[in-house]
Amino acid sequence: MEGYEPTIIAFVCNWCTYTAADLAGTSRLIQPFNVRMIRMMCTGMVDPKYVIKALLEGADAVLISGCHPGDCHYINGNLKARRRIKLLKEILPRFGFHEGRLKMTWIGASEGIDFARTIKELVVEVKALGPNETRKQMVL
């Protein structure tokens, strides 16, 4: 697809990845503009339905990113999130969603460079996958 720019919805936690994104911005790191970030208090509150809804509404990929294990502001919300993403990775590919459309990472508050790199890499990966089918097709 000529000039295809993916849309990526990122659910990031307030304490780590959002802060990292902020740091990446204030450090003036160049990043692609494809990410729509949604700040959550914790990745542990990302219900599977948010991810499913985003993908059905035409998002080309969903990123969930929170604190490294052991660093969660709420002790273990990120570990609960990991199980939910594991679950979604079992379910969604069975209906034709490429596994690469759902990504989870740990990015700590001081890792602005890591954040920028993750976004760059993800955009390249998702560009290679092409647009999500739900962009064109009406989901019934």
């Binding site: 599977p48 339905k49 809804k53 059905l56 273990n76 979604l88 069975r94 089918e133």
Partner: protein
């Protein structure tokens, strides 16, 4: 070696023998009540009844090849707080397994409950059962077992057991306190009752029935039934995976869905008091629909059908015990059970979990470990 006793059957009527047996359970004095399926005024189906009077067991029919609701929901209602006395509940294996899931999800308790399970040879869908039974109630149940005994199978006119039952690899009530056995014996001359827990044994001791061994043929009969069921199940998994393997196929698979959410209401393990799909979250502004329609020029109404099913798969497939009440409740014959069982097979396996297997296994989404599933985060943990 667990205690096994014999329940005599006379006049080729196992229902009458069970009535006598359950009357004795109530008269034993240890149990304040008994939950058992009965034909009431409607002879063409059964409903769970909570009985305290030993003489109010006339319509009992726990063997009827039907379960209009999964009674785990009823037992959860009865046990979510102390009920004030022990009660014995007569359930199908899938109802017991659903109840085990509910207990683990803190929706009930086994404290005051004695689980009595009966070998399950399967059930018809509600609509089919009404045709099978007509107004004949218990008599039709006896005919069902008579047909099986004579090798005529379970098919009747143009229908057979529900697909959920044909695919069920749990015909035995594994987690019951007391197991009433049909398989391998001769149902028309005796039933067996086996204690599977100290509470079950205490009850059998009190009833003073003659001890027997489980019939030798039981093992074989179970093996044969399981082979048949797992073969059906595995081909169902393959067919369903194929029929839903991409979004277009999934949409046509679910095309008959009218967003009535009956499947969620009927589902024994969908326990949320208020499902998000019936809350204000989905009470969209009229202008919202118009703007959605504008994006692609067309919008199917009601919206969110695929979204609903995918979300329910994410929310409860790890607890799905495969009773098939979702399909039973569907007004448009969407094969809901087939889809949920197929996906549940994978999601439960991913967490090395089997819904209904035991009270000890933690539900996958209620637990977590520090180091696990590092593949989810690209090998980092």
């Amino acid at each position: 070696m667990s205690k096994v006793v014999k329940i005599e059957v006379s006049d080729r009527n196992p229902i009458a023998s069970l009535r006598t047996f359950f009357r004795a359970v109530l008269q034993s004095g240890d149990y304040a009540g008994l939950l058992v399926a009965q034909h009431l005024t409607m002879r063409s189906t059964v409903m769970p009844t909570l009985v305290t009077d030993p003489d109010k067991l006339d319509g009992i029919d726990p063997l009827a090849p039907v379960f209009p609701i999964n009674a785990a929901k009823v037992v959860s209602k009865l046990s979510r707080k102390p009920i004030g006395g022990r009660i014995a509940v007569v359930l199908r294996p899938c109802e017991i397994r659903a109840f085990i899931e509910l207990v683990k999800l803190k929706q009930g308790s086994v404290e005051e409950i004695l689980l009595i399970g009966i070998d399950c040879l399967g059930a018809y869908g509600n609509v089919d059962y009404a045709r099978f039974a007509g107004a004949k109630g218990q008599e039709s149940t006896l005919r069902f077992y008579q047909n099986i005994a004579e090798g005529k199978g379970t098919a009747f006119e143009d229908f057979d057991l529900s697909p959920a039952c044909k695919a069920c690899e749990h015909p035995l009530p594994e987690n019951a306190d007391l197991l009433i056995g049909l398989l391998g014996g001769d149902l028309m001359s005796f039933l067996s009752a086996e204690a599977k827990s100290p509470a079950g044994e205490a009850l059998l001791d009190k009833l003073g029935l003659p001890a027997i061994e489980q019939p030798e043929k039981r093992k074989n009969a179970i093996g044969e039934l399981m082979a048949e069921r797992t073969a059906y199940r595995d081909s169902m998994f393959l067919e369903t995976s194929e029929a839903t393997k991409d979004l277009t196929k999934l949409m046509s698979y679910l095309a008959g869905c009218v967003n009535c959410y009956n499947c969620r209401v009927a589902c024994p393990v969908c326990y949320c008091k208020e499902c998000v799909f019936v809350t204000d979250v989905f009470d969209h502004e009229p202008s919202q629909y118009l703007s959605w329609a504008k994006r692609k020029g067309i919008l199917k109404m009601p919206t969110d059908t695929v979204f609903y099913h995918l979300t329910r798969l994410a929310h409860m497939s790890t607890a799905c015990i495969g009773c098939g009440q979702c399909s039973n409740a569907c007004p448009n014959n969407v094969p809901v059970m087939e889809l949920f069982r197929t996906i549940a097979n994978y999601t439960q396996r991913a967490f090395d979990y089997e819904a209904g297997r035991s009270l000890e296994d933690e539900p996958p989404l209620s637990a977590f470990r520090e180091k696990e599933f590092s593949e989810v985060t690209g090998g980092k943990d």
